[in-house]
């Protein structure tokens, strides 16, 4: 199972990167807020496994996982978080605005939801230029409350654009649970009224996610319109920052338990030959420590760079 190995590698790579980010964070080398995706990696890994280089993904400020899964440059990502000139935004974006146009990662906004129409615009361009490419737009559950989500769904469906919206429903926007934000949880049903095939995935399986993405993407390449996936998940860490926050009173550690028990990283590891897991681990550790070393060694931008890139 080649794709099993590939998925595991991606999952594990993301996990190791995120844990390293969390580890170094208190030393203040990272010059941005960080929104970790630990626990949610299976979504980005599963979805991006269905994509090709000509495809695009739109990510969020909680975008490390999808950036990595789509093949974004890891060195440039870590350097960006360190505020270095070699960062993917030359230190002008920070961790909330990762981009790698070469890898098809089209950027992230720190204003929740606002990347949804931008991603839709990429899909419009893909359709117009007949590239055969598709766009995946990752969003959180909170982003679906913004008006531009409804506006974008309608437009994407009206023009039958090749875009897959993936909602990572971790049940919270910062510390506010769905019950305080959603009148009902009939999100997929709502999206379906636009004529968009919509499916909810609750089993936490990277394979289920991958299969659903493959199916949706295949239909789009055949000229089908948009599709929608709502994928339940759990955010293991605090909203922003490196720590757990189950002691803060707004949610209980029980919420994590079932997710931790079926952690995809561990589950996939257990199904691969130990030697292979070990080899992957060695490789990943080398890659990750090289990336942090690269970031560390890279120079900061200098004052004189400030005015670059205001205009093209």
């Amino acid at each position: 199972m080649e794709h099993h190995r590939r998925l595991y590698r991606t999952l594990r790579l993301i996990r190791v990167v995120e844990e390293e980010v969390a580890r170094v964070y208190p030393t203040d080398v990272i010059k941005s807020p960080v929104h970790l995706s630990i626990g949610q990696e299976f979504i980005a890994a599963g979805v991006c496994d269905a994509l090709e280089p000509r495809d695009h993904v739109s990510i969020t400020y909680r975008g490390h996982a999808a950036y990595i899964a789509k093949g974004g440059d890891l060195n440039a990502m870590i350097a960006e978080m360190y505020g270095k000139k070699t960062g993917c935004c030359q230190g002008r974006g920070g961790s909330m605005h990762l981009i790698d146009m070469k890898a098809g990662v089209i950027g992230a906004s720190a204003v929740v939801g606002t990347s949804i129409p931008v991603a839709t615009g990429f899909a419009l361009a893909a359709r117009r230029r007949r590239t055969g490419g598709v766009v995946v737009c990752f969003i959180g559950d909170g982003a679906t409350e913004e008006g531009c989500f409804a506006e974008s769904l309608n437009f994407a469906a009206l023009h039958r654009l090749p875009i897959l919206f993936v909602c990572e429903n971790n049940g919270y926007a910062i510390h506010e649970p769905l019950a305080k934000r959603w009148a009902t949880d009939r999100l997929c049903e709502r999206v379906a009224t636009y004529g968009i095939p919509a499916r909810r995935i609750g089993d936490g399986s990277v394979f289920t996610v991958r299969d659903a993405a493959l199916e949706a993407v295949a239909a789009m390449r055949d000229g089908g319109g948009p599709a929608f996936l709502e994928i339940l998940c759990c955010r293991w860490r605090e909203h922003v920052g490196p720590n757990e926050d189950f002691d803060q009173g707004y949610r209980s550690a029980d919420e994590k338990t079932p997710w931790a028990e079926r952690d995809e990283v561990a589950r996939l590891a257990a199904r691969l030959p130990p030697a292979e897991v070990a080899a992957i681990e060695t490789d990943i550790l080398a890659t990750v420590s090289a990336a942090f070393a690269f970031a560390e060694a890279s120079p900061f931008p200098v004052t004189g760079d400030l005015h670059d890139h205001v205009h093209a």
Binding site: I99, T114, G121, F122, H311
Partner: protein
């Protein structure tokens, strides 16, 4: 009627063309030249075709490149930005500038910042067309000139052509520009004519135009106010005051040097704007000129614009809300002859031809 600020200098000066037709010609020529240009926005493809400014484009370029949208200004702006980042050149059309308030987040938080915050790895070659409505009951929400909000934001360019020649040249320049450009058109300028070359040309940022020379005062007019300033200049000439009228054309980046040079000479600076004055384009021009003049300063300044109220549709209120050639002339007079009694030209003579003609519907 004819309102030509640009006289025919040579055969290449072109034909007399209306502002609206000059805009249309710009779209047609650029769409012909570059496959990636497309024009979209509410009602661009109906039989009224945005007062005629997009007429014929649908027939010529088809519905993939000329299409209306749902009423979703916010998302449609994001769509335009995404398409632009992906290599297209969208022209997104709004029949009222007031509606841009629905898209401020996309314009300011995304379009203006994308290139910078993504470290120069993307371009956003986006044109946002918007029209300022004026008079005949446009009222509170169909009348605003919001250019100063966009001038405030690094990463956006802003242009406000005042005549048919510039309408075409600026629009072509905006379409070819690799940055987001907010184009502020003015409804009352649509029927005005100027000499417009037939071939494509660009009126680029960086050069304000001295529309009419003068020695006693520098009068900067923005958008439609250029026309009203020229009329004010005539009225002032009758009382022996000579005003130099400058059209900045591009508001961001702004050619402040031309204005500084003039103000240094005339020692008096009046800016007449089609918007409110507080934190407006006039404030920017006055402050920038004075910073540049430095300690030699000592020039008299005045901003003119909308009254600091919401725009009222009732005619007597509306008349008081807007500056006009008479109020502009009176302001210049007050600066030039501060010791004289206030002077106001005969209101009848101060009326503007195209202003009087315009009547609804929208």
């Amino acid at each position: 009627m004819t309102m030509s600020t640009l006289e025919p200098g040579s055969a290449s000066a072109g034909r007399l063309l209306r502002y609206v037709d000059a805009l249309r010609e710009a779209f047609a020529q650029e769409m012909e030249r570059d496959e990636s240009v497309f024009v979209f926005g509410l009602d661009v493809d109906d039989h009224k075709s945005i007062q005629g400014s997009t007429a014929g484009l649908l027939q010529r370029f088809g519905p993939e490149r000329v299409f209306t949208t749902p009423l979703s200004e916010d998302a449609m702006t994001g769509v335009a930005i995404g398409a632009a980042m992906a290599g297209m050149r969208p022209v997104h059309v709004h029949i009222r500038m007031d509606f841009l308030l629905l898209c401020m987040n996309q314009l300011v938080n995304i379009a203006a910042k994308a290139r910078y915050m993504y470290g120069g790895t993307v371009k956003v070659p986006l044109v946002v067309r918007s029209m300022v409505g004026k008079s005949w009951g446009q009222g509170a929400q169909h009348s605003q000139g919001l250019h100063s909000m966009f001038m405030h934001v690094p990463g956006l360019k802003v242009v406000a052509p005042s005549n048919a020649h510039d309408a075409k040249g600026c629009m072509i320049a905006a379409i070819r520009d690799d940055n987001p450009v907010i184009v502020m058109e003015h409804r009352l300028l649509y029927p005005t004519e100027a000499y417009v070359p037939e071939t494509a040309y660009e009126v680029l940022p960086g050069k304000a135009r001295v529309v009419a020379p003068g020695g006693d005062a520098t009068l900067v007019g923005i958008s439609h106010m250029v026309v009203e300033c020229l009329r004010a200049r005539e009225l002032l000439a009758e009382v022996g005051i000579s005003a130099e009228v400058i059209d900045p054309i591009w508001l961001s980046p702004l050619d402040i040097a031309t204005i500084v040079e003039s103000a240094r000479r005339t020692r008096r600076l009046v800016v007449a704007d089609t918007g409110w004055t507080a934190c407006g384009a006039g404030a920017e021009i006055v402050a920038a000129v004075l910073e540049q003049l430095g300690p030699e300063g000592g020039i008299a300044v005045k901003r003119i614009g909308f009254a600091p109220t919401t725009c009222p549709p009732s005619p007597p209120l509306e008349a008081a809300f807007y500056p006009n050639p008479g109020t502009v002339a009176a302001a210049v007079h007050a600066l030039v002859r501060p010791k004289d009694a206030a002077w106001t030209p005969d209101p009848e003579r101060a009326k503007l031809a195209h202003q009087v003609q315009f009547r609804g519907p929208f």
